[in-house]
Symmetry: C2
Subunit: 306 residues, 2 copies
């Protein structure tokens, strides 16, 4: 059985002169697109599956956490059940099944995802219910990325923010390494609850799940545990328009040869929104993942005006 550090793939640091000169900013890309299962979530999922004593794990995820947890459980020979909306892309359902997990398809017109999870939790009293972000094992797993970043010398680090799992991990990693770089969150303007929360000093919720192209950030609010890290360790949240999220996907394609999912492009979107924050700084750009449906990606590239 591999330890967390043995199981994860170290992140990929990319310094693209072409991207730097296009943006006029000194930046290094930290790409988790080549992490196992294609996103940073594997760090969280493996740490959780490794450390909870339960032999069964239950989660609700239509995206990267579901795949990551399914794969982690396969490696650790634990049972895994992932609740997914019936309307999820076939390719994502198959990916979870291929890692040996049970997929529980929910007709979300008839029953809410959380209700279904509660039902299942009753049926599986020995299972551990894993939140994709609001969990200390998740944050601890993601902190390994913070450690990797802390080994380098940056002035400012910009990371996507949804439920807050990744950025809390980065806070934890930077903190324990005594790294004082400024940490900025990049959030879709359409679901700007983290921005509002940091302004008002308490967790603010979106009224509905925001329909942003950055599907990894379609969260109602920050997690409670995440909020404790974020209010201490995050300096600022930049709201990113849908247009600039897509523009960032295009720029990374054209100038860095990097295939990223829209959520992974949020940090570059933040630079496009507010270049003045990043000017003359040594910037670390955290690209959280690369899993995107080919049709969605084609549509975004088709809007390319660079």
């Amino acid at each position: 059985m591999k330890t967390l550090l043995e199981a994860i793939r170290p992140t990929t640091f990319i310094e693209s002169e072409k991207l730097k000169s296009f943006l006029g900013i000194d930046l290094t890309v930290v790409s988790e697109t080549f992490q196992h299962t294609g996103s940073f979530k594997f760090r969280a999922a493996y740490n959780l599956a490794l450390n909870v004593p339960n032999e069964e794990i239950l989660t609700a995820s239509s995206g990267n956490f579901g795949q990551a947890l399914a794969y982690a459980c396969q490696l650790l020979q634990k049972k895994c059940t992932v609740v997914m909306p019936e309307t999820s892309a076939r390719i994502k359902i198959e990916a979870v099944r291929n890692y040996g997990a049970t997929v529980d398809l929910v007709d979300t017109r008839r029953i809410g995802r959380n209700e279904r999870v509660a039902q299942l939790a009753k049926q599986m009293p020995d299972a551990y219910y894993a939140s994709a972000y609001d969990d200390l094992f998740v944050i601890e797993g993601n902190s390994t990325l913070g450690d990797e970043i802390a080994n380098r010398d940056f002035d400012i680090i910009v990371s996507p923010i949804g439920g807050g799992g990744l950025i809390s991990g980065i806070v934890q990693g930077l903190c324990r390494n005594g790294n004082k770089a400024k940490l900025v969150g990049a959030e879709p303007l359409l679901g700007n609850d983290a921005f509002q929360s940091l302004l008002s000093g308490r967790i603010i919720r979106n009224e509905i799940e925001p329909i942003t192209v950055a599907d990894g950030a379609r969260t109602i609010s920050l997690g409670k545990l995440n909020w404790e890290f974020i209010k201490k360790g995050v300096s600022q949240i930049v709201e990113v328009s849908e247009e600039n999220i897509k523009k960032a996907v295009q720029i990374l394609f054209t100038h860095a040869n990097l295939k990223v999912e829209p959520t992974g492009a949020l940090p570059l979107g933040a630079i496009v929104e507010k270049p003045e924050i990043f000017a003359k700084k040594k910037v670390c750009l955290v690209v959280s993942g690369g899993n995107v449906d080919p049709e969605v990606y084609r549509r975004i590239l088709g809007e390319n005006k660079n």
Copy 2:
């Protein structure tokens, strides 16, 4: 002034469980898509510009070598002239110009590229004329990738082959490290001169420049110097259909989050063509570069049937 090893970016080794399990083959991707200027050609170009005594360098290239040489000359403060067809994509012409090189646009209906190069060479008697492949500095530069591969333990290495610059470098690198892995070239079926050459034991030429989607392999024949390395060090050439080149681009997108240019997908195309050669082997897949026009890429993804 940086040495070659200081100037290049080490290659990116990617082991994707998803890709391995999709193909049923134990393979490691060696990606040069994040090399400076987006392809392995920077290794060749920098080594050449560093070592020739001339202050001016002349080449003909509509693709990756032009960009790489322009950037290398910018770093080394040498003059660079790149002959390009007038019909080249605007984005490629601009890329070369942005690195400070002079672009000489040729109306190829009126004058051949080689003729134009000959004219220019007369006008610039002090310039070094750089072939993109048939040059010992080029091969020596590319051999650094062979060194990186030789440090790992593979049974079989598969590399694209066009003029033969990359694969000759790999032969040189493997050879001097005493690495005995089998080396296979992957060539478009539409321009199978290397396949024919290896069969007949002498350089065979394509009648015309092959119109393959793998534009980095649109060469008339192997270079003379390259042929000397290839006949000794390459075991086999696999011919890859246009359909399988495109399929390989799609597979790398879907299963490895990797944006590759069609030429860079040739080795995976070879695996799709002839999986039996690679079964039960530890395979090294050399992805030579990632620079592809967004429209071409969109078109290829649109044909996705995976």
